[in-house]
Symmetry: C2
Subunit: 111 residues, 2 copies
Amino acid sequence: MSENKELMRGTVEVVILRLLSEHDLYGYEMIKLVNERSNGYFEWREGSLYPCLHKLEGDGMVRSYMREGPGKARRYYTLTEEGRKVAVERATFTREFCAALSLLLQPVPEA
Amino acid sequence: MSENKELMRGTVEVVILRLLSEHDLYGYEMIKLVNERSNGYFEWREGSLYPCLHKLEGDGMVRSYMREGPGKARRYYTLTEEGRKVAVERATFTREFCAALSLLLQPVPEA
DNA sequence: CTAATATACAAAGGCAATCTATGTTGTCAA
DNA sequence: TTGACAACATAGATTGCCTTTGTATATTAG
């Protein structure tokens, strides 16, 4: 499903923000979650995700904290107030963009 | 409408191919057409389009020819047989990708 | 008739998000 | 104890597009 990796561009941030709108998650969990939910259209790897998470943290969109438990300690991410606002805006915009693109790409009517 | 230029990535080629599936067009015309049809979500400029057209021609997806007429001579583009096939495939794939992304970005249900 | 604007094509150079690749540490099952 | 997997991390390369600049012609305004 790697027909066009370029399409993924600009989607990582907004997908992360949307995921965290439901509840806190740790990085590795996001990867599994997205790859399952997208019916194979997304194929996230660590290298795609972690740099982006760090950037979002630097931008004040998310905060992180360690949580101990069974297994290895995990770094959970949570939305800041700003992040929660931006999540809605960007998700809305991106859905509208998808709609506009799909419209442009409608099948050509048969003669 | 330049909230996220990265979203445009990987869309230029498929949109061109889809446009040419209807009838031949020249470059400048494509720009105007897309910017109108997309309700402002696309803001193509020359620098986005022409290099991509040349690439598609190099890849054997399109052919071009000059057409004289009133006004300045224009270079028209037309799909090759291969290009016509790829146009359908890529447009379909991209629409499915948009659907998958929109699904991921569904609004969070209110509590 | 002249200036300004729009049409039309072209290409060099740079950016920035992402991918590839690799590394580390810790856990668990065989 | 060895392999596989979980979990995080980052350096470096890639690449498509944007910005900028350039050319030339056509059209409209004044």
